[in-house]
Protein backbone atom coordinates (compact mmCIF):
# COMPACT_ATOMS: atom_id res chain seq x y z
CA UNK A 1 0.00 0.00 0.00
CA UNK A 2 1.24 3.47 -0.87
CA UNK A 3 1.06 6.09 1.79
CA UNK A 4 1.67 9.75 1.25
CA UNK A 5 4.28 10.86 3.71
CA UNK A 6 4.84 14.25 2.18
CA UNK A 7 1.56 15.48 0.81
CA UNK A 8 -0.69 14.55 3.74
CA UNK A 9 -3.50 13.67 1.36
CA UNK A 10 -5.73 10.75 2.11
CA UNK A 11 -5.09 9.05 -1.21
CA UNK A 12 -3.77 5.66 -2.24
CA UNK A 13 -2.65 5.21 -5.82
CA UNK A 14 -3.94 1.96 -7.32
CA UNK A 15 -1.21 -0.57 -8.13
CA UNK A 16 -1.04 -1.68 -11.75
CA UNK A 17 1.88 -3.52 -13.28
CA UNK A 18 0.96 -3.40 -16.94
CA UNK A 19 -0.92 -1.09 -19.29
CA UNK A 20 -3.66 -3.67 -19.73
CA UNK A 21 -4.33 -3.64 -15.98
CA UNK A 22 -4.07 0.16 -16.07
CA UNK A 23 -6.59 0.73 -18.87
CA UNK A 24 -9.07 -1.79 -17.45
CA UNK A 25 -8.57 -0.37 -13.95
CA UNK A 26 -9.09 3.33 -14.66
CA UNK A 27 -12.18 2.64 -16.76
CA UNK A 28 -13.67 0.58 -13.94
CA UNK A 29 -12.61 2.93 -11.11
CA UNK A 30 -13.47 6.32 -12.56
CA UNK A 31 -16.30 5.57 -15.07
CA UNK A 32 -18.28 8.72 -15.73
CA UNK A 33 -15.74 11.20 -14.43
CA UNK A 34 -14.28 13.52 -17.07
CA UNK A 35 -10.86 12.25 -18.13
CA UNK A 36 -9.62 14.47 -20.95
CA UNK A 37 -10.75 17.85 -22.21
CA UNK A 38 -9.47 20.17 -24.89
CA UNK A 39 -10.58 23.30 -26.71
CA UNK A 40 -11.22 23.66 -30.42
CA UNK A 41 -10.02 26.68 -32.37
CA UNK A 42 -13.43 28.24 -31.74
CA UNK A 43 -12.98 27.68 -28.02
CA UNK A 44 -15.55 24.90 -27.71
CA UNK A 45 -14.73 22.45 -24.94
CA UNK A 46 -14.66 18.76 -25.88
CA UNK A 47 -14.55 16.07 -23.19
CA UNK A 48 -14.07 12.32 -22.95
CA UNK A 49 -15.06 10.53 -19.74
CA UNK A 50 -12.95 7.67 -18.42
CA UNK A 51 -15.56 5.23 -19.68
CA UNK A 52 -15.61 6.73 -23.19
CA UNK A 53 -11.82 6.86 -23.30
CA UNK A 54 -11.43 3.23 -22.34
CA UNK A 55 -14.24 2.13 -24.67
CA UNK A 56 -12.33 3.69 -27.54
CA UNK A 57 -9.04 2.18 -26.38
CA UNK A 58 -10.64 -1.27 -26.16
CA UNK A 59 -12.30 -0.95 -29.58
CA UNK A 60 -9.03 0.13 -31.18
CA UNK A 61 -7.08 -2.68 -29.48
CA UNK A 62 -9.53 -5.31 -30.77
CA UNK A 63 -9.51 -3.76 -34.20
CA UNK A 64 -5.71 -3.70 -34.38
CA UNK A 65 -5.52 -7.32 -33.25
CA UNK A 66 -8.07 -8.34 -35.90
CA UNK A 67 -5.81 -6.68 -38.48
CA UNK A 68 -2.92 -8.85 -37.45
CA UNK A 69 -1.03 -6.73 -34.93
CA UNK A 70 1.31 -9.14 -33.18
CA UNK A 71 2.59 -8.90 -29.66
CA UNK A 72 5.87 -7.01 -29.62
CA UNK A 73 5.34 -5.21 -32.95
CA UNK A 74 6.62 -1.63 -32.81
CA UNK A 75 3.99 1.02 -33.43
CA UNK A 76 5.00 4.65 -33.97
CA UNK A 77 2.89 7.69 -33.08
CA UNK A 78 3.61 10.95 -34.88
CA UNK A 79 1.08 13.55 -33.90
CA UNK A 80 0.55 16.82 -32.09
CA UNK A 81 -1.01 16.43 -28.63
CA UNK A 82 -4.58 15.23 -28.97
CA UNK A 83 -6.93 12.58 -27.56
CA UNK A 84 -6.21 10.30 -30.55
CA UNK A 85 -2.54 10.18 -29.50
CA UNK A 86 -3.47 8.95 -26.03
CA UNK A 87 -6.02 6.42 -27.30
CA UNK A 88 -3.56 4.99 -29.83
CA UNK A 89 -0.85 4.82 -27.15
CA UNK A 90 -3.05 3.02 -24.63
CA UNK A 91 -4.42 0.58 -27.24
CA UNK A 92 -0.92 -0.30 -28.43
CA UNK A 93 0.72 -0.66 -25.02
CA UNK A 94 -2.23 -2.58 -23.54
CA UNK A 95 -1.73 -5.01 -26.43
CA UNK A 96 1.85 -5.66 -25.32
CA UNK A 97 3.40 -3.65 -28.15
CA UNK A 98 5.98 -0.90 -27.64
CA UNK A 99 4.79 2.56 -28.64
CA UNK A 100 7.46 4.56 -30.45
CA UNK A 101 6.98 8.21 -29.47
CA UNK A 102 8.21 10.29 -32.40
CA UNK A 103 9.34 13.86 -31.78
CA UNK A 104 7.21 16.03 -34.08
CA UNK A 105 9.57 18.99 -33.86
CA UNK A 106 12.34 17.33 -35.79
CA UNK A 107 13.16 17.90 -39.45
CA UNK A 108 11.38 15.78 -42.08
CA UNK A 109 14.49 13.67 -42.56
CA UNK A 110 14.97 13.03 -38.84
CA UNK A 111 11.34 11.99 -38.49
CA UNK A 112 11.70 9.39 -41.25
CA UNK A 113 14.96 8.24 -39.68
CA UNK A 114 13.29 7.77 -36.28
CA UNK A 115 10.52 5.65 -37.79
CA UNK A 116 12.99 3.48 -39.70
CA UNK A 117 15.56 3.04 -36.93
CA UNK A 118 12.86 2.00 -34.47
CA UNK A 119 11.65 -0.75 -36.84
CA UNK A 120 8.08 0.53 -36.62
CA UNK A 121 5.60 -1.58 -38.55
CA UNK A 122 2.57 0.60 -38.10
CA UNK A 123 2.33 4.37 -37.83
CA UNK A 124 -0.37 6.59 -36.35
CA UNK A 125 -0.10 10.14 -37.63
CA UNK A 126 -2.02 13.35 -38.23
CA UNK A 127 -2.52 14.76 -41.76
CA UNK A 128 0.31 17.31 -41.20
CA UNK A 129 2.86 14.50 -41.35
CA UNK A 130 1.36 12.38 -44.12
CA UNK A 131 3.43 13.91 -46.92
CA UNK A 132 6.62 13.46 -44.86
CA UNK A 133 5.93 9.75 -44.39
CA UNK A 134 4.55 8.86 -47.84
CA UNK A 135 8.07 8.12 -49.18
CA UNK A 136 8.37 5.37 -46.54
CA UNK A 137 5.09 3.83 -47.69
CA UNK A 138 6.10 4.13 -51.36
CA UNK A 139 9.43 2.44 -50.67
CA UNK A 140 7.73 -0.38 -48.79
CA UNK A 141 9.58 0.56 -45.58
CA UNK A 142 6.30 0.95 -43.74
CA UNK A 143 3.31 -1.25 -44.34
CA UNK A 144 0.41 0.68 -42.90
CA UNK A 145 -0.59 4.09 -41.67
CA UNK A 146 -3.51 5.17 -39.49
CA UNK A 147 -4.68 8.74 -39.79
CA UNK A 148 -5.64 10.57 -36.57
CA UNK A 149 -8.30 13.05 -37.75
CA UNK A 150 -8.96 13.64 -41.45
CA UNK A 151 -10.08 11.25 -44.13
CA UNK A 152 -7.95 8.54 -45.69
CA UNK A 153 -7.39 9.08 -49.42
CA UNK A 154 -5.06 6.15 -50.14
CA UNK A 155 -5.77 2.46 -49.71
CA UNK A 156 -2.64 2.05 -47.56
CA UNK A 157 -4.01 4.66 -45.17
CA UNK A 158 -6.88 3.98 -42.76
CA UNK A 159 -8.62 6.47 -40.52
CA UNK A 160 -8.65 6.10 -36.76
CA UNK A 161 -12.41 6.69 -36.77
CA UNK A 162 -13.03 3.72 -39.07
CA UNK A 163 -10.91 1.49 -36.83
CA UNK A 164 -12.99 2.60 -33.82
CA UNK A 165 -16.22 1.85 -35.65
CA UNK A 166 -15.04 -1.61 -36.62
CA UNK A 167 -13.77 -2.26 -33.10
CA UNK A 168 -17.01 -1.17 -31.43
CA UNK A 169 -18.88 -4.19 -32.82
CA UNK A 170 -16.21 -6.64 -31.74
CA UNK A 171 -16.46 -8.35 -28.35
CA UNK A 172 -14.39 -10.08 -25.66
CA UNK A 173 -13.52 -12.96 -27.96
CA UNK A 174 -11.74 -10.55 -30.25
CA UNK A 175 -9.34 -9.44 -27.54
CA UNK A 176 -5.71 -10.33 -28.15
CA UNK A 177 -5.07 -13.67 -26.37
CA UNK A 178 -1.76 -12.37 -25.04
CA UNK A 179 -1.47 -10.11 -21.99
CA UNK A 180 1.45 -7.77 -21.60
CA UNK A 181 3.91 -8.47 -18.81
CA UNK A 182 5.74 -5.95 -16.66
CA UNK A 183 9.11 -6.58 -18.26
CA UNK A 184 7.96 -5.91 -21.81
CA UNK A 185 8.91 -2.64 -23.43
CA UNK A 186 6.06 -0.14 -23.29
CA UNK A 187 7.66 3.02 -24.62
CA UNK A 188 10.51 3.83 -26.97
CA UNK A 189 11.34 7.48 -26.42
CA UNK A 190 13.96 9.49 -28.29
CA UNK A 191 16.47 11.45 -26.34
CA UNK A 192 19.11 13.96 -27.38
CA UNK A 193 22.32 12.02 -27.18
CA UNK A 194 25.85 13.27 -26.94
CA UNK A 195 26.45 11.52 -30.23
CA UNK A 196 25.00 12.77 -33.49
CA UNK A 197 21.97 10.45 -33.52
CA UNK A 198 19.23 10.59 -30.94
CA UNK A 199 19.12 7.50 -28.75
CA UNK A 200 16.06 5.27 -28.39
CA UNK A 201 15.30 4.70 -24.72
CA UNK A 202 13.32 1.55 -23.91
CA UNK A 203 11.08 1.82 -20.86
CA UNK A 204 9.30 -1.27 -19.59
CA UNK A 205 5.62 -1.46 -18.62
CA UNK A 206 6.64 -1.95 -15.00
CA UNK A 207 9.08 0.99 -15.03
CA UNK A 208 6.44 3.43 -16.25
CA UNK A 209 3.79 2.13 -13.85
CA UNK A 210 6.19 2.38 -10.91
CA UNK A 211 7.27 5.91 -11.77
CA UNK A 212 3.77 7.33 -12.20
CA UNK A 213 2.62 5.68 -8.97
CA UNK A 214 5.50 7.14 -6.99
CA UNK A 215 4.78 10.61 -8.35
CA UNK A 216 1.48 10.36 -6.44
CA UNK A 217 3.40 9.85 -3.21
CA UNK A 218 5.18 13.18 -3.59
CA UNK A 219 2.61 15.47 -5.16
CA UNK A 220 -1.07 15.81 -4.53
CA UNK A 221 -2.76 17.37 -7.56
CA UNK A 222 -6.29 18.57 -7.22
CA UNK A 223 -9.29 17.94 -9.46
CA UNK A 224 -8.39 19.75 -12.65
CA UNK A 225 -4.97 19.82 -14.24
CA UNK A 226 -3.55 21.47 -17.34
CA UNK A 227 -0.60 20.36 -19.43
CA UNK A 228 0.74 21.49 -22.78
CA UNK A 229 3.88 19.36 -22.55
CA UNK A 230 4.46 17.25 -25.67
CA UNK A 231 3.31 13.65 -25.32
CA UNK A 232 6.34 12.33 -27.20
CA UNK A 233 8.54 13.19 -24.20
CA UNK A 234 8.51 11.00 -21.10
CA UNK A 235 7.81 14.09 -18.96
CA UNK A 236 4.62 15.07 -20.79
CA UNK A 237 3.43 11.50 -21.30
CA UNK A 238 4.22 9.83 -17.98
CA UNK A 239 4.24 12.67 -15.44
CA UNK A 240 1.26 14.54 -16.89
CA UNK A 241 -1.03 12.27 -18.92
CA UNK A 242 -0.55 8.82 -17.35
CA UNK A 243 -0.21 10.19 -13.84
CA UNK A 244 -3.42 12.22 -14.19
CA UNK A 245 -5.28 9.16 -15.49
CA UNK A 246 -3.93 7.01 -12.66
CA UNK A 247 -5.34 9.51 -10.14
CA UNK A 248 -8.66 9.84 -11.96
CA UNK A 249 -8.37 13.59 -12.29
CA UNK A 250 -9.59 15.78 -15.13
CA UNK A 251 -6.74 16.64 -17.50
CA UNK A 252 -6.95 19.53 -19.95
CA UNK A 253 -4.63 18.88 -22.85
CA UNK A 254 -3.27 21.43 -25.24
CA UNK A 255 -1.76 20.57 -28.57
CA UNK A 256 -0.22 23.83 -29.58
CA UNK A 257 2.04 26.37 -27.94
CA UNK A 258 0.10 29.04 -29.81
CA UNK A 259 -3.02 28.39 -27.78
CA UNK A 260 -1.45 27.22 -24.51
CA UNK A 261 -2.08 30.51 -22.67
CA UNK A 262 -5.62 30.82 -24.01
CA UNK A 263 -6.47 27.26 -23.00
CA UNK A 264 -4.93 27.64 -19.56
CA UNK A 265 -7.35 30.49 -18.88
CA UNK A 266 -10.34 28.76 -20.44
CA UNK A 267 -9.73 25.53 -18.49
CA UNK A 268 -9.91 27.15 -15.02
CA UNK A 269 -7.68 24.46 -13.57
CA UNK A 270 -6.15 24.23 -10.10
CA UNK A 271 -2.90 22.51 -11.09
CA UNK A 272 -0.46 22.65 -13.98
CA UNK A 273 2.54 20.59 -15.01
CA UNK A 274 4.95 22.57 -17.13
CA UNK A 275 8.46 23.80 -17.97
CA UNK A 276 10.11 27.04 -16.76
CA UNK A 277 9.52 28.66 -20.16
CA UNK A 278 5.76 28.79 -19.62
CA UNK A 279 6.07 29.99 -16.02
CA UNK A 280 8.38 32.76 -17.20
CA UNK A 281 5.94 33.67 -19.96
CA UNK A 282 3.16 34.03 -17.35
CA UNK A 283 5.53 36.07 -15.21
CA UNK A 284 6.43 38.38 -18.12
CA UNK A 285 2.74 38.76 -18.91
CA UNK A 286 2.08 39.80 -15.32
CA UNK A 287 4.68 42.57 -15.38
CA UNK A 288 3.75 43.70 -18.88
CA UNK A 289 0.08 44.07 -17.89
CA UNK A 290 1.10 45.93 -14.73
CA UNK A 291 3.27 48.33 -16.71
CA UNK A 292 0.56 48.99 -19.29
CA UNK A 293 -1.93 49.70 -16.49
CA UNK A 294 0.59 51.97 -14.72
CA UNK A 295 0.62 49.63 -11.71
CA UNK A 296 4.18 48.30 -11.90
CA UNK A 297 5.39 50.32 -8.91
CA UNK A 298 2.37 49.32 -6.85
CA UNK A 299 2.97 45.67 -7.74
CA UNK A 300 6.65 45.87 -6.75
CA UNK A 301 5.60 47.40 -3.45
CA UNK A 302 2.94 44.72 -2.87
CA UNK A 303 5.51 41.95 -3.45
CA UNK A 304 7.98 43.62 -1.09
CA UNK A 305 5.38 43.95 1.66
CA UNK A 306 4.09 40.41 1.19
CA UNK A 307 7.63 39.07 1.33
CA UNK A 308 8.29 40.94 4.58
CA UNK A 309 5.05 39.67 6.15
CA UNK A 310 5.94 36.14 5.11
CA UNK A 311 9.37 36.39 6.75
CA UNK A 312 7.61 37.46 9.94
CA UNK A 313 5.16 34.56 9.55
CA UNK A 314 2.26 36.98 9.34
CA UNK A 315 -0.70 36.51 6.99
CA UNK A 316 -0.09 38.65 3.90
CA UNK A 317 -3.35 39.70 2.26
CA UNK A 318 -3.07 42.05 -0.69
CA UNK A 319 -5.95 43.08 -2.90
CA UNK A 320 -3.57 43.89 -5.74
CA UNK A 321 -1.83 40.50 -5.59
CA UNK A 322 -5.22 38.78 -5.55
CA UNK A 323 -6.29 40.80 -8.60
CA UNK A 324 -3.06 40.05 -10.47
CA UNK A 325 -3.30 36.36 -9.69
CA UNK A 326 -6.91 36.23 -10.87
CA UNK A 327 -6.02 38.02 -14.10
CA UNK A 328 -2.87 36.04 -14.92
CA UNK A 329 -3.60 32.50 -13.78
CA UNK A 330 -7.21 32.42 -12.57
CA UNK A 331 -7.83 29.56 -10.17
CA UNK A 332 -4.38 27.98 -10.56
CA UNK A 333 -2.67 27.32 -7.26
CA UNK A 334 -0.18 24.51 -7.85
CA UNK A 335 2.53 24.37 -10.51
CA UNK A 336 4.96 21.50 -10.95
CA UNK A 337 7.97 22.51 -12.99
CA UNK A 338 10.64 20.35 -14.56
CA UNK A 339 12.85 19.93 -17.60
CA UNK A 340 15.12 22.88 -16.83
CA UNK A 341 16.10 25.30 -14.09
CA UNK A 342 13.46 27.75 -12.86
CA UNK A 343 14.56 31.16 -11.65
CA UNK A 344 14.30 31.44 -7.87
CA UNK A 345 12.96 35.02 -8.09
CA UNK A 346 10.09 33.96 -10.32
CA UNK A 347 9.25 30.99 -8.08
CA UNK A 348 9.24 33.34 -5.08
CA UNK A 349 6.88 35.83 -6.74
CA UNK A 350 4.54 32.99 -7.67
CA UNK A 351 4.57 31.77 -4.07
CA UNK A 352 3.68 35.28 -2.89
CA UNK A 353 0.76 35.27 -5.32
CA UNK A 354 -0.44 32.13 -3.57
CA UNK A 355 0.70 29.63 -6.20
CA UNK A 356 2.80 26.79 -4.90
CA UNK A 357 5.70 25.89 -7.20
CA UNK A 358 7.14 22.38 -6.91
CA UNK A 359 10.33 21.78 -8.85
CA UNK A 360 11.30 18.33 -9.97
CA UNK A 361 14.00 16.56 -11.89
CA UNK A 362 13.88 13.72 -14.32
CA UNK A 363 15.61 12.16 -17.25
CA UNK A 364 14.07 10.06 -20.02
CA UNK A 365 16.20 7.04 -19.07
CA UNK A 366 14.51 7.01 -15.62
CA UNK A 367 10.91 7.04 -16.89
CA UNK A 368 11.54 10.04 -16.17
CA UNK A 369 11.06 11.26 -12.56
CA UNK A 370 14.10 11.03 -10.28
CA UNK A 371 13.11 13.52 -7.61
CA UNK A 372 10.49 16.15 -6.93
CA UNK A 373 9.44 18.45 -4.11
CA UNK A 374 6.31 17.64 -2.14
CA UNK A 375 3.31 19.78 -1.23
CA UNK A 376 4.32 19.80 2.44
CA UNK A 377 8.09 19.35 2.06
CA UNK A 378 9.18 21.93 -0.47
CA UNK A 379 12.60 23.54 -0.54
CA UNK A 380 12.92 26.28 -3.10
CA UNK A 381 16.03 25.91 -5.23
CA UNK A 382 16.13 22.15 -4.77
CA UNK A 383 14.65 19.52 -7.10
CA UNK A 384 13.16 17.68 -4.15
CA UNK A 385 13.39 14.25 -2.64
CA UNK A 386 14.28 11.14 -4.68
CA UNK A 387 11.54 8.69 -5.67
CA UNK A 388 11.10 6.10 -2.91
CA UNK A 389 12.20 3.09 -4.98
CA UNK A 390 15.27 4.75 -6.49
CA UNK A 391 18.71 4.39 -4.96
CA UNK A 392 20.68 7.57 -5.49
CA UNK A 393 24.40 8.11 -5.06
CA UNK A 394 26.83 10.81 -6.06
CA UNK A 395 30.00 9.72 -7.85
CA UNK A 396 32.46 12.62 -8.11
CA UNK A 397 29.44 14.88 -7.81
CA UNK A 398 27.52 13.14 -10.62
CA UNK A 399 24.00 11.96 -9.84
CA UNK A 400 23.70 8.19 -10.40
CA UNK A 401 20.51 6.21 -9.86
CA UNK A 402 19.39 2.60 -9.73
CA UNK A 403 15.91 1.14 -9.37
CA UNK A 404 12.84 -0.30 -11.05
CA UNK A 405 12.06 2.75 -13.16
CA UNK A 406 15.46 2.88 -14.86
CA UNK A 407 15.38 2.02 -18.59
CA UNK A 408 15.96 -1.41 -20.06
CA UNK A 409 18.59 0.05 -22.38
CA UNK A 410 18.94 1.84 -25.73
CA UNK A 411 17.23 0.02 -28.59
CA UNK A 412 19.71 -1.71 -30.92
CA UNK A 413 22.65 -0.08 -29.16
CA UNK A 414 24.31 -2.51 -26.73
CA UNK A 415 27.51 -0.42 -26.64
CA UNK A 416 25.83 2.77 -25.48
CA UNK A 417 23.67 0.73 -23.10
CA UNK A 418 26.73 -0.89 -21.51
CA UNK A 419 28.33 2.52 -21.17
CA UNK A 420 25.26 4.10 -19.58
CA UNK A 421 24.26 1.25 -17.28
CA UNK A 422 26.87 -0.23 -15.03
CA UNK A 423 25.61 -2.85 -12.59
CA UNK A 424 22.15 -1.31 -12.94
CA UNK A 425 23.39 2.18 -12.09
CA UNK A 426 22.56 4.93 -14.56
CA UNK A 427 24.85 7.95 -14.67
CA UNK A 428 22.73 10.99 -15.40
CA UNK A 429 25.48 13.37 -16.46
CA UNK A 430 24.07 15.95 -14.02
CA UNK A 431 26.13 17.26 -11.14
CA UNK A 432 24.59 17.91 -7.75
CA UNK A 433 24.53 17.36 -4.01
CA UNK A 434 22.05 16.37 -1.29
CA UNK A 435 21.42 18.34 1.88
CA UNK A 436 21.07 16.76 5.32
CA UNK A 437 17.35 16.14 4.73
CA UNK A 438 17.98 14.33 1.45
CA UNK A 439 16.85 17.14 -0.87
CA UNK A 440 18.71 17.11 -4.17
CA UNK A 441 20.28 20.27 -5.64
CA UNK A 442 21.63 20.39 -9.19
CA UNK A 443 24.72 22.43 -9.94
CA UNK A 444 25.59 21.75 -13.59
CA UNK A 445 26.10 19.17 -16.31
CA UNK A 446 28.91 16.77 -16.96
CA UNK A 447 27.78 15.91 -20.47
CA UNK A 448 27.82 18.33 -23.39
CA UNK A 449 24.07 18.68 -23.74
CA UNK A 450 22.78 22.25 -23.92
CA UNK A 451 19.61 22.63 -21.87
CA UNK A 452 17.05 25.36 -22.62
CA UNK A 453 14.40 26.87 -20.39
CA UNK A 454 11.67 24.93 -22.17
CA UNK A 455 13.38 21.67 -21.19
CA UNK A 456 14.53 21.01 -24.76
CA UNK A 457 18.00 19.65 -25.04
CA UNK A 458 20.36 20.04 -27.94
CA UNK A 459 23.34 17.86 -28.64
CA UNK A 460 26.06 20.23 -29.94
CA UNK A 461 27.71 17.37 -31.84
CA UNK A 462 24.72 17.00 -34.11
CA UNK A 463 24.78 20.67 -35.12
CA UNK A 464 28.56 20.63 -35.46
CA UNK A 465 28.22 17.78 -37.93
CA UNK A 466 25.83 19.85 -40.06
CA UNK A 467 28.04 22.96 -39.92
CA UNK A 468 31.22 20.99 -40.66
CA UNK A 469 29.72 20.10 -44.01
CA UNK A 470 30.09 23.75 -45.12
CA UNK A 471 33.29 23.72 -47.22
CA UNK A 472 34.63 26.94 -45.69
CA UNK A 473 34.46 25.48 -42.17
CA UNK A 474 37.56 23.72 -40.88
CA UNK A 475 36.58 23.38 -37.21
CA UNK A 476 33.45 24.25 -35.29
CA UNK A 477 32.21 24.12 -31.72
CA UNK A 478 28.57 24.75 -30.86
CA UNK A 479 27.84 25.94 -27.36
CA UNK A 480 25.19 27.71 -25.35
CA UNK A 481 26.32 31.28 -24.72
CA UNK A 482 24.90 32.82 -21.56
CA UNK A 483 21.94 35.01 -22.37
CA UNK A 484 20.75 35.75 -18.88
CA UNK A 485 21.41 34.93 -15.29
CA UNK A 486 20.98 31.16 -15.50
CA UNK A 487 22.77 28.24 -17.06
CA UNK A 488 19.84 27.26 -19.26
CA UNK A 489 19.10 30.80 -20.44
CA UNK A 490 21.30 30.41 -23.50
CA UNK A 491 21.82 31.44 -27.10
CA UNK A 492 23.07 28.72 -29.45
CA UNK A 493 26.42 29.90 -30.75
CA UNK A 494 28.67 28.42 -33.43
CA UNK A 495 32.36 29.27 -33.06
CA UNK A 496 34.02 28.58 -36.40
CA UNK A 497 37.63 28.33 -37.42
CA UNK A 498 37.50 28.81 -41.21
CA UNK A 499 39.64 26.82 -43.61
CA UNK A 500 42.61 29.18 -44.33
CA UNK A 501 42.93 27.99 -47.95
CA UNK A 502 39.34 28.80 -48.73
CA UNK A 503 39.32 32.28 -47.23
CA UNK A 504 42.39 33.63 -48.95
CA UNK A 505 41.77 37.14 -50.20
CA UNK A 506 38.44 37.47 -48.41
CA UNK A 507 37.74 40.14 -45.81
CA UNK A 508 36.42 39.15 -42.35
CA UNK A 509 33.10 40.67 -43.33
CA UNK A 510 32.88 38.53 -46.49
CA UNK A 511 33.77 35.37 -44.55
CA UNK A 512 31.12 36.08 -41.92
CA UNK A 513 28.52 36.91 -44.54
CA UNK A 514 29.19 33.68 -46.43
CA UNK A 515 29.08 31.56 -43.27
CA UNK A 516 25.93 33.30 -42.07
CA UNK A 517 24.20 32.53 -45.39
CA UNK A 518 25.19 28.86 -45.17
CA UNK A 519 24.04 28.63 -41.55
CA UNK A 520 20.76 30.32 -42.44
CA UNK A 521 20.20 27.48 -44.92
CA UNK A 522 20.87 24.91 -42.18
CA UNK A 523 18.58 26.79 -39.79
CA UNK A 524 15.75 26.55 -42.32
CA UNK A 525 15.65 22.79 -41.82
CA UNK A 526 15.73 22.91 -38.03
CA UNK A 527 13.09 23.61 -35.39
CA UNK A 528 13.37 27.07 -33.84
CA UNK A 529 15.04 25.91 -30.64
CA UNK A 530 17.85 24.16 -32.54
CA UNK A 531 18.70 27.11 -34.78
CA UNK A 532 22.10 28.76 -34.48
CA UNK A 533 21.57 32.32 -33.28
CA UNK A 534 25.12 33.61 -33.23
CA UNK A 535 28.21 32.95 -35.36
CA UNK A 536 31.73 33.73 -34.10
CA UNK A 537 34.82 33.54 -36.28
CA UNK A 538 38.09 32.37 -34.72
CA UNK A 539 41.52 33.25 -35.96
CA UNK A 540 43.21 30.31 -34.24
CA UNK A 541 42.54 26.59 -34.30
CA UNK A 542 40.83 25.09 -31.24
CA UNK A 543 42.98 23.53 -28.51
CA UNK A 544 42.94 19.75 -28.80
CA UNK A 545 43.47 16.68 -26.68
CA UNK A 546 46.19 14.10 -27.37
CA UNK A 547 43.74 12.21 -29.55
CA UNK A 548 43.08 15.40 -31.55
CA UNK A 549 39.60 15.93 -30.19
CA UNK A 550 38.67 19.54 -29.63
CA UNK A 551 38.81 20.51 -25.97
CA UNK A 552 35.32 21.86 -25.66
CA UNK A 553 35.79 23.85 -22.48
CA UNK A 554 39.40 24.97 -22.90
CA UNK A 555 38.99 27.35 -25.79
Amino acid sequence: MNTLPYNKADYTAPVYNTFREFTDGIGREYGDRPALSWFTRRQEEKTLTYLELIQQVTALRRSLYRRGLNQGAHVAILSENNAGWIIAFLAVTSCGCPAVCVDTEQSDESIRDMILRSDSQLLFLTPTYLSICMPLLDAGQLSRVVLIGGLASDERVESLDSLYEQGMVLNEQDEPPFQPTGDQTAEIVFTSGTTSQSKMVMLSQQAVMQNIREECQHIYFHRRMFSSLPFYHAYGLNCAVLNALLRGIHLYINGNLKTAMRDLHLAKVDSMLTVPLMIEALHNQMWLSAEKAGKADALRHAFKTASLYRKLHLPAKSKLLDQVREEIVGSLHLVASGGAHLSREIAQEFELLGIQVLQGYGITECAPLISVNCNYANKMGSVGLPMPSLELRLVDGEVCVRGPSVMQGYYKDPEQTAEALKDGWFSTGDLGYQDKDGFLYLTGRKKNLIVFKNGKKVSPERLEELISAIPMVKEVVVSGTANGAFADDVKLTASIYPDPQRIEGLSSYEILEHLQQEIDKINQSLPTYQQIQLVNIREKEFNKTATKKIKRYAN
Binding site: A281, Q524, T528
Partner: protein, 76 residues
Protein backbone atom coordinates in the same frame (compact mmCIF):
# COMPACT_ATOMS: atom_id res chain seq x y z
CA UNK B 1 1.16 46.38 -42.36
CA UNK B 2 4.36 47.16 -40.44
CA UNK B 3 2.40 49.32 -38.01
CA UNK B 4 -0.04 46.48 -37.38
CA UNK B 5 2.80 44.04 -36.75
CA UNK B 6 4.49 46.54 -34.43
CA UNK B 7 1.26 46.80 -32.43
CA UNK B 8 0.83 43.03 -32.22
CA UNK B 9 4.43 42.47 -31.12
CA UNK B 10 4.14 45.25 -28.52
CA UNK B 11 0.91 43.83 -27.13
CA UNK B 12 2.36 40.35 -26.79
CA UNK B 13 5.93 41.06 -25.71
CA UNK B 14 6.18 44.74 -24.76
CA UNK B 15 9.02 45.17 -27.32
CA UNK B 16 9.21 48.29 -29.52
CA UNK B 17 11.41 49.61 -32.36
CA UNK B 18 10.40 46.97 -34.87
CA UNK B 19 11.56 47.26 -38.50
CA UNK B 20 11.20 45.02 -41.56
CA UNK B 21 14.60 43.48 -40.81
CA UNK B 22 13.98 42.80 -37.11
CA UNK B 23 14.79 39.16 -36.29
CA UNK B 24 12.53 37.67 -33.62
CA UNK B 25 15.22 35.54 -32.02
CA UNK B 26 18.45 37.41 -32.69
CA UNK B 27 17.26 41.01 -32.25
CA UNK B 28 14.35 40.71 -29.84
CA UNK B 29 15.76 37.70 -27.94
CA UNK B 30 12.33 36.07 -28.01
CA UNK B 31 12.00 32.42 -27.08
CA UNK B 32 9.90 29.86 -28.94
CA UNK B 33 6.95 30.52 -26.66
CA UNK B 34 6.99 34.29 -27.40
CA UNK B 35 7.24 33.62 -31.15
CA UNK B 36 4.26 31.26 -30.97
CA UNK B 37 2.25 33.83 -29.01
CA UNK B 38 2.94 36.43 -31.70
CA UNK B 39 1.97 33.99 -34.44
CA UNK B 40 -1.18 33.18 -32.52
CA UNK B 41 -2.04 36.90 -32.39
CA UNK B 42 -1.54 37.11 -36.19
CA UNK B 43 -3.80 34.08 -36.63
CA UNK B 44 -6.53 35.70 -34.53
CA UNK B 45 -6.24 39.01 -36.36
CA UNK B 46 -6.34 37.49 -39.85
CA UNK B 47 -8.58 34.55 -38.90
CA UNK B 48 -6.16 32.09 -40.44
CA UNK B 49 -3.98 29.19 -39.32
CA UNK B 50 -0.22 29.16 -39.71
CA UNK B 51 1.04 25.56 -39.35
CA UNK B 52 3.70 25.18 -36.66
CA UNK B 53 6.22 23.73 -39.09
CA UNK B 54 5.89 26.84 -41.28
CA UNK B 55 6.63 29.07 -38.29
CA UNK B 56 10.22 27.75 -38.38
CA UNK B 57 10.77 29.71 -41.59
CA UNK B 58 9.50 33.02 -40.25
CA UNK B 59 12.62 34.61 -38.78
CA UNK B 60 12.17 38.29 -39.51
CA UNK B 61 9.24 40.70 -39.63
CA UNK B 62 9.48 40.82 -43.44
CA UNK B 63 9.15 36.99 -43.59
CA UNK B 64 5.81 37.30 -41.80
CA UNK B 65 4.64 40.06 -44.14
CA UNK B 66 5.66 37.99 -47.19
CA UNK B 67 3.98 34.90 -45.77
CA UNK B 68 0.73 36.73 -45.09
CA UNK B 69 0.86 38.33 -48.56
CA UNK B 70 1.25 34.87 -50.14
CA UNK B 71 -1.84 33.78 -48.25
CA UNK B 72 -3.65 36.80 -49.65
CA UNK B 73 -3.70 38.89 -46.51
CA UNK B 74 -2.83 42.56 -46.80
CA UNK B 75 -3.45 45.44 -44.50
CA UNK B 76 -3.67 49.12 -45.35
Amino acid sequence: MLQLIQDIIYNVTGKRNITYETDFVQDLALNSFDVMNIISAFEDHFDTTIPTREVWHLHQVKDVIDYLAQKGFTHP
